[in-house]
Symmetry: C2
Subunit: 131 residues, 2 copies
DNA sequence: TTCTAAATGCAAGCAACTTGCATTTAAGAA
DNA sequence: TTCTTAAATGCAAGTTGCTTGCATTTAGAA
């Protein structure tokens, strides 16, 4: 918590109650949260403010996007990086396919510089799959 | 092409000009296409029809979704399966995190039944990263 | 060629953002 | 502590990318 407040202040941004609340919700959630999830936990904060606060956190690398293939994004505290199956160049748009995925060695394998990635699985947990 | 027309007809669906055009666009694209991409290649087909045709193709496993983290989805011809970093139960919503990704052994490792996945990387290709 | 269920086009609806602008407020200055 | 002001927020309207309802058109069986 203190660590993130330091990032915020040293980047020249104000520490508002809204920002503290949003940060707190993301920090204490046990799974990545959607903007709506945050709004449900911060009933007095306007959705547009939540939107702008989360985008500021993204910019400051306090949070990262998580895509579960829902029609909205989720966010979680930034820790380290992960990855995908297609490699897309954000500059020329060309794509390189990977036949087998060896996470950490991907950059070496493709010689791409990976800037972003999404890597989420959706399925049934051990309990649910046997019902 | 013939293979997909067979799938379509044997499932009891009509072979319309619109469906042929959309299939042709997806087949000949060198990278996954968005609904808008398809529309741009089939100017006389209504967007709603493209939407329904692609969803039919998804249902028949003729195409699969590809998520590059843009705010729209892309589609490509279905070939085989791949995967993620979070494992989400679509039933109870619980999530299991994977520290290291070993694609094929993921189900064994987590004991989840994987139903869906997204796994795409965005970065710079060898040419672009040195500019 | 005729007939009919299925497919398409059109237009309206919806969800999840995204933005413009007037008001409020954090936090440095006095 | 109070004052000042640029930054942050709330409100409301706008945008994008689907998604759906319904009248018209059409593939393909008879």
């Amino acid at each position: 918590m203190e660590k993130f407040i330091t990032i915020l202040k040293s980047a020249g941004y104000k520490l508002t109650n809204q920002r503290k609340s949003v940060l707190c919700v993301i920090l204490s959630a046990e799974k990545p949260v959607s903007l709506k999830d945050i709004q449900n936990s911060c009933l007095n904060i306007d959705f547009a403010s939540i939107y702008r606060i989360v985008n500021l956190f993204l910019e400051l690398n306090i949070v990262r996007k998580v895509n579960f293939g829902e029609r909205y994004l989720r966010y979680e505290i930034e820790t380290e990086h992960m990855h995908h199956h297609h490699v897309v160049c954000s500059k020329c748009g060309c794509i390189k396919k990977i036949d087998y995925c060896l996470v950490k060695d991907l950059e070496k394998l493709t010689n791409f510089k990976i800037l972003e990635h999404s890597m989420e699985f959706i399925g049934l947990c051990p309990k649910c799959k046997n019902k």
